[in-house]
């Protein structure tokens, strides 16, 4: 499991020296931000959530550094933050204080595939999150399930639906539903 660790032994793997927390944050930050940007559709929000997740890792570094995948732990924390409605409301108010201009890009630079990014934003939040973890963060199905705390089967089915939905958005087809004569319900 993602967070499985031998706490009782209290010893780090001899072959793996624990990372310096500062170095870990520097390395993990860009990957986390990109994944969260895909999941949330908002680079500023993604950056803030990433920094918050890394701050929590910092505070618990003596334990987090001994996990098999410290970065995956950060993904879980970040995803929890991203989908927390409480925190988003506070975030919007603080953002309104500090950054009144809406921005979804950094330094005016857009993603390399604006069409895909626009299509991603039209997906439901869960589907976006799954796609971001599976393909941008390159997590396995099992790790994605662990991060989002859902069954593996749900990750698979959600991935499949999300890709199908994304394909439909990128390549629209005529509505197959028959036209019916309707009246007020």
């Amino acid at each position: 499991m993602l967070v499985e660790m031998d706490v009782a032994a209290g010893e780090a793997d001899e072959e793996q020296q624990p990372l310096d927390v500062d170095e870990f944050c520097r390395r993990a930050h860009p990957r986390l931000v990109r994944t969260l940007t895909a999941a949330t559709g908002d680079v500023s929000l993604a950056d803030e959530i990433t920094q918050e997740a890394l701050a929590r890792a910092w505070e618990r570094w003596d334990r987090v550094c001994r996990l098999d995948q410290p970065e995956a732990w950060c993904y879980r924390v970040a995803m929890n933050l991203a989908r927390s409605q409480f925190r988003r409301r506070a975030a919007a108010r603080r953002a309104h204080d500090r950054m009144p201009a809406a921005s979804t890009a950094v330094d005016g630079a857009a993603s390399t595939d604006d069409e895909l990014m626009t299509a991603l934003r039209r997906l439901p939040e869960l589907q976006r999150s799954v796609l971001a973890l599976r393909f941008l963060a390159d997590l396995s199905v099992e790790s994605t399930a662990d991060v989002l705390r859902m069954p593996i089967g749900t990750v698979k089915s959600t991935t499949s639906r999300a890709l199908a939905e994304l394909r439909l958005i990128l390549d629209p087809r005529p509505d197959p539903r028959p036209t019916t004569e309707a009246h007020d319900a």
């Binding site: 929000l45 941008l136 859902m150």
Partner: protein, 567 residues
Amino acid sequence: MHDLEDRLRSLDLPAPPLAPRAIAARVERRRHRRRILTTGAAAVLVLATVGSLAVMATGDDDATIAPASAPSEPSPVSSANTIPTPSAETTAAETTPDTTMVDLSGEDGGLYIDPAVATELGLVPDHAGDPVPLDEPDASEQAPFTPDDISSDMQRAVLARYDGTRSLVIDSITVNVLPSASGLSEMEGEIVTLPNGFEARRQDAWISWSDGIHDISVQHITSSPPSPDASPTVDLLAIARSVTVDADGAIELTTVPDGFERLPSEIAADGTSGSYRSIDYRSNSSLASDRPELSIDVATGAHTAEHLLVERSMIGPARAVEHRGQRIIVSHDGLMSPRPYVELIWDDPSGIQVWVTYSPMELDATEQDREVFAFRVVDALRRADAANWRELQRTADEAHRALVDVAWIDELLGARGFERVGSIAPDWEVLWDRDGLFIVSARSDDGTAADCLIVLRTDVRCVTATDPLRGRFATARVERTVGGRLILLTTPDISGVSLQRFDGGWGRSTIDLSAADDPRELRAVLIEQPSVPACLILSADDHVVVTRYSLVDGALVDPSESCMAQT
């Protein structure tokens, strides 16, 4: 399909650079404010499929919409029905012979509500969790109160000043000590020299320095909203002079400012270990996938309740009351939650810390209503043993399965001559935050296709393809529902909805409808009905404004000049 997967993998998104020591500084800020700092574009909230949009109202008849970030008006100390004296009973309920709290000592187990009282209050258990050890790395993501501000690397001393009744915290002073590598001593500010020769940096309410081993900061925070008794400033330099830190980071203060007292150790006796357990209750008429209306959380080894009072007071109204000989922290919130809630916290003599959080579905419940209800629950708490808890878990699982069973949707539609023919939004597999609105594809008895909205489990509205949604208002329609909410219906070209006061002040936020898990020709969202007229702004992709309305008394009217002026 693989082409699309490859395309996703190669999606190159910009990542803003991480400023040096940004994370360390954030750690310090968290510990000062205990607030989760997330940010976003000013006009965008990323929500689940449906959400609620709140425009804060002060409750006064002639009040304008209060800033969404401002705390609700505090209960003044002189208010007869809110701030009791330390010896007064707190509940408005009839007097009972019982004058002491229920004994919650016992076997290892969580708390539950006496079943007879739960039935009387209309509550059913919805989820009873297994204990979560507080020293698990991600325990803070499950428990609302882990010592996440406390780590083996950090020490903190808190000084608090109370009002005369000792019910309210006027202001507090916090001394934080972190390892020297945190870089906090390099923060900006006026440079001052301490008597011991250390160079400190000072801002209005904050001073920090390094002693070569630790980074030390002292911060003065006034309660929110500020008490008239609050001192405008505290001599932080004098406090800094009185701080000594030993090699282990333990903090000593040779002097304490007048009126302040140092709180005992922040963590309970064995605070670095312990466990957390919770149980959730819903009302009998609750929704399938909404957040619970009542939660009871229990922890051992957590922060002391007194520290939580100080913390809560700094970010919103909070007070301590005496209830049957027990000092209980009471705080209300309606700013960070779509549903206002009351929170009761205390350190029980049995050694556990208890949190009772009540957030009713009905939005028109007053603060006093919530408090009365929550204290009824407090008086009906019982301590479970292992066998009790397993039974509670079984009961909760059964109740929850019954709640998510979609048969009730079929019954509602059938009673109105409709048959469900498609999926239900939102997705039932993962229970995200919802606000009681489901969209179902249906077909009437004569074969007419319709999208049916089901609100709060009772309100059913079916919209067909030629619905007069496209009548006078080209893109939106508002319909009333119960409990102070409105249903806003829009066409799928609308991707964002925001509410704003006429003067453009606080209250504006946007729901991102483009994330709706619904391919149908309809979008719907629940809105809390604002108490004053507001501008309703509908936008399309990239925040292009499509149209504006004035929302007056729950109805859409032609926009006023004030609305047209809003961007």
